[in-house]
Symmetry: C2
């Protein structure tokens, strides 16, 4: 079997290679929430059959997504697809996702699937092959080649994560494991003090140690592993501590913008080279037309480009200030 | 808006109502792992176009699933669909899932979707509407009516779970939150000792307390809540302790059979009425033909019926022994 890994190279190298090339650690989050689309997108003929209606809505959603990707592709390192919104559209959503990913790849963007999947054994393997495997439909191997990486949940422990790491290693892909999420209730479990032999630590620190160890065998030439961590921007002091504890782990950082974190909040997640992290911005870019009064509904793609440029420039300004060895 | 809840009633009432009616707390797990199907199912014409090949495989998979459901429906309270295997089939898999669920409903079975989903805010709401919402495709409400319940992951805390509970309450559905999973590595995080004010407890106990509190507002007439817990059968002493700690929480218990837990191991998850838990058996029922030498490949459905009856009878025998107030 051809080793995709040698063709594609290491995921972390590819991710940070794009960051350097674009001078942008921004990831545009593609969150197609139906209720936030321009109203004109849902003005269909009256009394369409439900299946036809779904088909029409799906076409409109795909159009919007492709227009946004085309508008921001020079300004971002990659795109992150929030799978929940695609799943809500049923099998139409799955097709939209496939088409949108194909398009993102023609634009040479890194594709992150935000599915927060997790399970055990052969079930995790099925998820891993779905989203990180190579394309293949035969008796011997069935897999899709959808994402470059996938977000995964750690609650089931190592044997739930191992199949994802195996597929990642084999096919030059990556994962981002939830360590500390950006939502207020993340404190309930993730911040619990757990007892270790002679000391205590937060649960997220235990998860962070696991993530580091899982990543040992997937390091690339830039020095980072393809086993990343989701670290919410809304708790910057925790992000700073985790950055020090996990020097070679790429962080996927949600919570910038709409969720309240500023550019200097997110800067703590980077190392002195200005690498080690990418910053996701979803609503502020994808539905920028709703927040920017200078753009009309019809100019939604332009509004998104404007907002992506702002995100890039504000984060780069913060990095130029704090990263003493900035490499781009 | 019509309140589905009043039509359907409470999920826990429906679940245990089926257990009582069928005299069976068994859930048949539908895990369509391609590599375990009878070989004849994948003998297609040579050189089919990939899309046609996928279509043909999908038809064969759906046939198999419907035959299994028809063979076991009198012997089980419900069916659990492992979503990973459907997702691996792409949008074809999503269609198979929809069709299989429709069929299971004509057989009056409780449908559990095993997706272990989780996220925050509006993203959790999208998952919740996908799997627990009522059917509706309009500007005002978009939702699918796929499952009666969904497995969810607790790592993100209450604000990730709340949207699932809201949809469950509104539409008479339920959730099963991962508390203690059946896999060996579940010890790594779930068994950690966390420090509380004056004492310590395992992380799964903290999660158990949250699950109980989330369930307070979803109690049904039989006394159980529609916020359930996944409690693996492979750690029976933990199951016993959790049963006592969570008297009104329905347990979905994986790990019976193929993963090594016996009927008396799983019996600890029930209360004295013989209620409060359902036992999932996946491979041993769904792919029974592989384990039972008296059945040929062609008799796969008969083999599954045989195995479902065995599961039911062995668990019922164990319950008759230990449940002093057995209600069925």
């Amino acid at each position: 079997m051809a080793n995709d890994d040698t063709e594609r190279g290491n995921f972390a190298d590819r991710l940070f290679g794009k960051v350097i090339e674009k001078r942008s650690p921004i990831i545009a989050g593609i969150d197609p929430r139906l209720e936030l689309f321009p109203k004109s997108f849902f003005e269909m003929e009256e009394n369409l059959e439900p299946l036809v209606y779904r088909e029409e809505i799906s076409k409109a959603v795909l159009d919007y997504i492709l227009n946004i990707i085309a508008a921001v592709d020079k300004l971002v390192a990659g795109v992150k697809f929030q799978m929940a919104y695609f799943e809500l559209l049923g099998w139409n959503g799955y097709k939209i996702l496939e088409d949108a990913i194909s398009f993102a790849r023609t634009k040479d963007l890194v594709v992150i699937l935000d599915g927060k999947r997790n399970d055990i054994g052969s079930t995790s393997e099925a998820y891993a092959r779905s989203y990180l495997g190579k394309k293949g439909f035969s008796k011997d191997y069935w897999g899709n080649d959808l994402g470059d990486s996938l977000t995964v949940n750690p609650y089931l422990g190592s044997d739930g994560i191992a199949p994802f790491i195996d597929q990642a290693k084999e096919h030059g892909k990556g994962i981002f494991v939830l360590v500390k999420t950006s939502n207020p209730s993340s404190t309930e479990l993730q911040d619990l003090q757990v007892m270790m032999e002679h000391t205590g630590q937060h649960l997220y620190e235990t998860v962070a140690s696991l993530v580091s160890s899982w990543g040992e065998r997937l390091k690339g030439e830039l020095g980072y592993s393809s086993v990343g961590a989701v670290v919410g921007a809304t708790f910057p002091s925790i992000g700073k501590k985790l950055r020090e504890a996990m020097p070679f782990t790429p962080f996927l950082v949600p919570g910038f913008g709409a969720q309240g974190a500023s550019a200097s909040d997110v800067a703590v997640n980077f190392d002195s080279r200005g690498l080690g992290a990418v910053i996701n911005s979803s609503r502020n870019i994808f539905f920028a037309y709703r927040f920017l009064k200078d753009f009309s509904e019809e100019e939604y793609a332009k509004a998104s480009r404007h907002s992506a440029r702002n995100a890039k420039e504000s984060v780069m300004a913060a990095l130029e200030e704090v990263c003493k060895d900035l490499e781009y």
